[in-house]
Symmetry: C2
Amino acid sequence: MVRRLPREARRAQLVEVGIRLSRRLPFEAIGAAEIAAAAGVSKALVFHYFPTTEELHAAIARHEAARLLADLETDPALPHDQRLRIGLESFITHIERSPASYRSMARGAASSAVLREVYEDARQGVCTMILRALGVAADPPAGVVLLLRGWIAMVEEMTLLWLDEASVPRETLVTLLHHAGLTNLPAALETEAAGR
Amino acid sequence: MVRRLPREARRAQLVEVGIRLSRRLPFEAIGAAEIAAAAGVSKALVFHYFPTTEELHAAIARHEAARLLADLETDPALPHDQRLRIGLESFITHIERSPASYRSMARGAASSAVLREVYEDARQGVCTMILRALGVAADPPAGVVLLLRGWIAMVEEMTLLWLDEASVPRETLVTLLHHAGLTNLPAALETEAAGR
């Protein structure tokens, strides 16, 4: 017999099971049946909490995104270049942990508008976090925001390709991306300052 | 009455009509009916050349990709930084011209495996072209290939965001991306040389 859990605890448990599944399966392969089997509960119970597959996927993706943002937090006492490197390592680790679902979100299988929204919010969150670290979150120069978004896309693309091909050591991946962030963010701040 | 055209010419005409439609519509909105109406022919004729919507989209995308690669060719006599800037401007112009279908391909609505393949081939083509310009196409260092792919993703992401928001002048977009390419490609060549 399935142990009875309070409502919030049960919901959290099902989402957690979904997150674990998303580490090896793309979202398209995660439905109520898979969650039910992995959690040892009935499909009806899963449907009770998540009436549609889209709601299920959105809940999993939102929790993953919240975890990503928490993982990316770095010690404000450290110098910028170190914070960028530590945050970058966490970002890569995050994508490494759930390549299938991250790929679904980043590269197209996410035909769901809700998932695209969650994903867009997560990217905005990462962007805001870096702008805060740079001290320009209140009134960020448009070019810097644009460049940050470009750099985030670069991190995603290179990490996903690297996971496919493992063509360079992980250290080289980190160094290339770290360098790209370090050389371009200050330049973007300058370009903006000059243009204002 | 519809004028009779030789087979290849008719096919080319239908693809051309598709390319023009793709400048304002995403692929999902382009079917045999839309091609037929825009070309002034019957739907049956469109089906004769493109039995499935997927084949139609793939043909449009392949021709667009070939045109992109042709547009990106630059004079080998020019210095690298100028070639990069000229090629970059052409790339941005290309995305600007067909934002809807480019977005479909780059960002997810492309649920078709064939379209994803065409798109992947196009990115590889851009990558090879730049490696050739750098003189390392025969045996490209893996880190440089990875970085180039990251930079291409950056160009796509920033151009698509810029088309949505127009938050900076076009010149700033070009300068930021040009700088990102110029500062990172040589660094990637060095990182690779050091690691070998």
